[in-house]
């Protein structure tokens, strides 16, 4: 009995209460859905064959459901439900086999496409059509989530226009139903005077423009912060300077490697950055192009670490011999190296290689989970990650990192205490060759003594500040002679250089006074695409920086190159970058003197007030010239009452009496009399004055 009741309830829910007969609405929604499928295909978010099949089946489904709109369609609903369950099963099966977080997008798109087709065969009512329109929005969302270029904009615009026109047509159906549900319906006639054939001609275009304008306002107003937190002010000012310190590094520069004309081991292939080799000579400078190397989707851009170097021999960086074992799994779990006192946050970054790279896994420091199709990663003790598979273009992997967010004040208090550290490890990161000149050691000692507190972090800050003060960034600096130590040369001779010698000088000075430090190469976070939100890392974003071991916390990042160069903030909120650029441009041209500002604001205010007063006065004068009757019509118009020219003065006043009872009836009568005299009789001066007075009373 209960089962029968349940079946009855299900049948009742699925009963077609009011079939939708409007074929125009159906066609518009079909067009919108097809556009969303086209967008998915164009964005490469779904396989072409399956998408074309969906495009072919959708019109068939819409036609069939239109023809069946009045029948119960119960059997078809059952079949559709079974097929939908099959689609869901396939989705979950696909999800189980994905290698990266990004891989979930394809099964999701396929599921939406399949559900869209199945649902197309069951659209008897208006609400079903609206559901289909809503789910097409999900398809559109999946299409744009792939981060396509600006070429998709026309498709999105067409989709939005179709969706808007569908909603307009939908309203017609709602009106019809609203009238059908009434006990009685009023007869509606449109007076001839109210018919304005030209009124709706440009309305669609105006409305589309209004939606675009309002949408643009919303777009630039929504607070989208890089760390995905919501709320706060919609605008941020003053982000053009160095990046706020979320972690401890200052990496985040936009350094133009591509303009180098230096000598040394110059490489012309953009991907042959010498920093990713087994040995790095800081005397070299690369000439790297702007071609994109990888795109990174992340909520928090961080420097992308590639290789970590520990050996410094004859002014060249190298890596200790090591044979680490690969770790397997999905995800590949890597032991955290953060210290017990460190505060960290988990950041997920999904990398898509746009160009073949060495068999390195680029990650933010410090990785703890790697999602890769190879299911195998080799973690080196120095923090470098390698893989045995070919890292070709199109390879996608995700990395979860524990990013250090310990406040600077806490790090500065961490004592100079490496006693508990492994002596071998300490030796590894503090070793320097005897070829380093004594004056480098002396400078390091002097800077350490000058630090506000004798803690590793404070000393590192002191050394970095000294480099920032005394060394300037230049790719056109004279090459370092082969027999000279790069650190010594840049600190005492050239005082100019690029990131490799700058970072080297800091590592050497830190090691000189017994602070473990290492030389790291990788990429800067890259530039963020406004539309896709992804960070595009180019070959010219290759960079070198420093990691310092702080007792109790672990490796923290320093970028002495950033101290020498003004940097742009890569954390800028995506949608507001254009606005910020415009504001920056404006800020450069605006005066800073308060007196000038006061004068400017005062002048502008006077101009605006003067313009408003002049406009009002001009209007008053124009109305006075036009006469009291025109003044009255203007007043009625301002109250929202239209007064077609075909009305006589008596009809106009009667309409005003009826619709605007709060207006002075006597004054209206006087004005009527005046206008009747003016039109049909002889104008009288006394009546004119009376009419003027009456107009003033209105």
């Amino acid at each position: 009995m209960a089962r029968l009741r349940l079946i009855g309830a299900v049948a009742d829910v699925n009963r077609t209460r009011r079939p939708e007969h409007d074929t125009v609405l159906r066609m518009r929604i079909l067009a919108a859905v097809c556009t969303s499928v086209v967008a998915v295909v164009a964005a490469g978010a779904a396989p072409l064959g399956e998408s074309l099949l969906v495009l072919a089946l959708l019109p068939v489904g819409f036609l069939w459901s239109h023809r069946q709109r009045e029948s119960s369609n119960f059997a078809a609903k059952g079949v559709i439900s079974l097929l939908a369950m099959g689609a869901l099963y396939r989705f979950f099966a696909d999800i189980m086999t994905i290698g990266t977080v990004d891989d979930a997008r394809l099964p999701l798109t396929l599921m939406f496409l399949e559900i869209q087709v199945l649902h197309a065969f069951d659209l008897p009512q208006r609400r079903d059509l609206v559901f289909t329109l809503s789910s097409s929005l999900a398809l559109m969302g999946l299409a744009v989530a792939t981060g396509p270029g600006g070429w998709l904009l026309p498709v999105v615009a067409v989709y939005l226009v179709l969706a808007g026109s569908s909603l307009q047509r939908y309203q017609t159906s709602v009106d019809a139903q609203w009238l059908e549900e009434a006990t009685d319906t009023a007869s509606v006639t449109t007076p001839q005077a109210a018919v304005q054939p030209s009124a709706g001609r440009w309305r669609g275009a105006r409305q589309a423009a209004a939606v675009a304008l309002l949408g643009a306002l919303v777009f630039v107003s929504v607070p989208v912060s890089a760390d995905a937190s919501l709320g706060g002010l919609p605008f941020e000012f003053g982000v053009g300077g160095p990046a706020p310190r979320e972690g401890n590094g200052r990496v985040g520069g936009d350094l133009p490697f591509g303009e180098s004309d230096g000598e040394g081991s110059l490489s012309t292939d953009p991907m042959e950055y010498f920093g990713f080799a087994e040995r790095v000579d800081p005397r070299s400078v690369g000439e790297l192009s702007d071609i994109p190397v990888m795109s990174v989707r992340t909520s928090r851009p961080r420097p992308i670490r590639g290789v970590v170097f520990d050996l410094y021999v004859d002014g060249v960086w190298g890596r200790s011999e090591e044979e680490p074992d690969p770790v397997q799994g999905l995800p590949v779990r890597i032991d955290s190296v953060r210290g017990p006192a460190s505060r960290s946050t988990r950041v997920t970054q999904t990398y898509e290689l746009l160009h073949p790279t060495p068999n390195l896994l680029f990650t933010a420091a410090d990785p703890v989970e790697v999602w890769t199709a190879a299911r195998s990663v080799t973690p080196w003790t120095d923090g470098t990650l390698t893989t045995g598979v070919e890292m070709s273009a199109g390879t996608v992997y995700s990395v979860v990192s524990e990013v250090d967010v310990t406040p600077v004040e806490v790090l500065r208090r961490a004592p100079f205490d490496y006693a508990s550290a492994d002596p071998d490890a300490l030796t590894r990161w503090t070793t320097l060759p005897p070829t380093v000149p004594q004056r480098v050691h002396d400078l390091a000692t002097e800077l350490a003594l000058a630090a506000p507190t004798q803690t590793p972090y404070a000393i590192a800050e002191s050394i970095q500040a000294h480099i920032g003060r005394t060394v300037s960034y230049s790719l056109g600096a004279d090459p370092t002679p082969a027999e000279e130590d790069p650190a010594d040369h840049i600190l005492f001779e050239s005082r100019q250089g690029w990131c490799e010698p700058i970072a080297t000088s800091m590592v050497v000075m830190l090691r000189s006074i017994g602070i473990p430090a290492r030389f790291v190469t990788g990429f800067q976070p890259g530039g963020r695409s406004i539309l896709s939100g992804q960070y595009t890392v180019r070959a010219s974003d290759a960079h070198a920086w420093v990691e310092v071991f702080v007792p109790g916390h672990g490796w923290t990042t320093f970028d002495p190159t950033g101290a020498t160069t003004p940097v742009l903030d890569p954390d800028g909120p995506g949608p507001q970058i254009l606005l910020l650029l415009a504001l920056g441009w404006l800020r450069e041209r605006l005066p800073t003197d308060p007196g000038t500002w006061a004068l400017l604001v005062g002048s502008l205010t006077t101009l605006v007030v003067g313009a408003v007063v002049w406009r009002r006065r001009a209007r008053r004068v124009a109305l006075r010239r036009a006469g009291p009757w025109a003044g009255m019509l203007h007043r009625l118009h301002a109250e929202g009452l239209s007064t077609p020219d075909v009305l006589t003065p008596a009809e106009t006043v009667a309409r005003a009496h009826r619709s605007l009872p709060h207006l002075d009836a006597d004054a209206l009568s006087v004005l009527q009399r005046f206008e009747e005299h003016r039109r049909y009789g002889s104008p009288e001066d006394a009546l004119h004055a009376e009419a003027e007075a009456a107009l003033a009373r209105l």
Binding site: Q171, S187, T190, P191, A194, A210, V218, V224, G533, G640
Partner: protein, 325 residues
């Protein structure tokens, strides 16, 4: 869920997703959706502000002949749609464009109506926002009990005395009480030309009515339900009006008083509580004489000293009883 709210919810979800992955594309979609809702909100607000209505109703109507209302709408549509309904949401109309004239028969309860309510629902271009407003119009509408044909019943009640009275009326044997000023609606033959010449304005004879039979209808005191009193007043008005038209002297005993039947008495029936615009109270009792109407549930009982009581439950029964069908 209204489609506007649904759009905002989807936009919110997309916004969260888009801001999470930092996708400007998704934010553009969100912004377009929010822009659509904003456009509709602005459209609705502006259209509603510029919508003016004027309601025209007749001065009187019957309970069975509801008034025909004319609503004139003037507006700047801005692409919006206006749904118009009467106060009870019985009658509806849809207005597109800048103006329209809506005509409809609207239900109105017996009584005196001074507030003509019109419900206005302005809906945005995309149907994503709507604004509902109730417009109040000052009206002066009397809804009186309708008059049904009761010639047969009057004749049945009066018997031969009714025929004598009709004869007396046809010979014009009215009792002239005096003259009074002409009022619109007075028959032309009642003009007293000599008095008109003397006063310089149209004067008419003021008669005490025909010297016919005497019909007295009493509505019992006590508390009535709206339905039963509507039925009672309809039967009463039908009997009294028909009797007066046939030349008899009709009297109405109600709420502790007895009055002769005329237009004012008919208006008075409209105001017997419970009625629209009149506070509810029990009616005072009246002397038991002539035809007496008492409440019986949602119907009435008509008691005539010469015949057994009749129980009438609705208008159709009353119509048949009055027509002696």
């Amino acid at each position: 869920m209204p489609i506007g709210w649904m759009t905002l919810v989807i936009a919110g979800v997309l916004y969260l997703a888009g801001s999470n992955i930092g996708s400007g594309w998704v934010i553009i979609l969100t912004a377009a959706m929010a822009g659509g809702v904003l456009l509709d909100l602005v459209t609705v607000w502006r259209a509603d502000r510029s919508t003016l209505t004027a309601l025209t109703l007749p001065a009187t109507a019957g309970t069975l002949e509801p008034p025909r209302a004319v609503l004139t709408v003037e507006r700047r549509d801005h692409g919006s749609v206006l749904h118009v309904a009467d106060g009870t949401d019985t009658c509806r109309g849809v207005v597109r464009g800048p103006g329209a004239r809506l005509q409809a028969v609207v239900p109105a309860a017996r009584g005196h109506h001074t507030d003509g309510r019109v419900s206005l629902r302005t809906i945005g271009t995309l149907g994503l926002a709507r604004l509902v407003r109730t417009q109040h119009h000052e009206v002066d509408l009397w809804v009186r009990p309708s008059v049904l044909a009761a010639d047969a019943r009057i004749r049945a009640l009066l018997g031969t005395s009714g025929e004598d009275a009709s004869r007396a009326r046809s010979t014009g044997q009215d009792e002239v009480r005096g003259v009074r000023g002409f009022e619109p609606g007075d028959p032309r033959r009642s003009v007293h030309w000599r008095a008109t010449a003397r006063h310089g304005a149209l004067m008419v004879r003021q008669s005490e009515g025909p010297r016919g039979a005497h019909v007295r209808v009493a509505i019992a005191g006590g508390t009535w339900t709206p339905a039963s009193l509507d039925l009672a007043t309809t039967v009463t008005a039908s009997l009294c009006s028909t009797a007066a038209r046939l030349g008899h002297r009709a009297e109405l005993a109600v709420d502790g008083g007895v009055r002769g039947w005329d237009d004012v008495t008919h208006h008075g029936l409209a105001m017997l509580p419970p009625a629209a615009g009149v506070p509810t109270r029990p009616l005072a009792d009246v002397p038991a004489e002539g035809l007496r109407i008492s409440p019986a549930g949602e119907g009435i009982v008509v008691e005539d000293p010469t015949s057994p009581p009749v129980h009438l439950t609705d208008v159709e029964e009353a119509r048949r009883w009055l027509a002696c069908a």
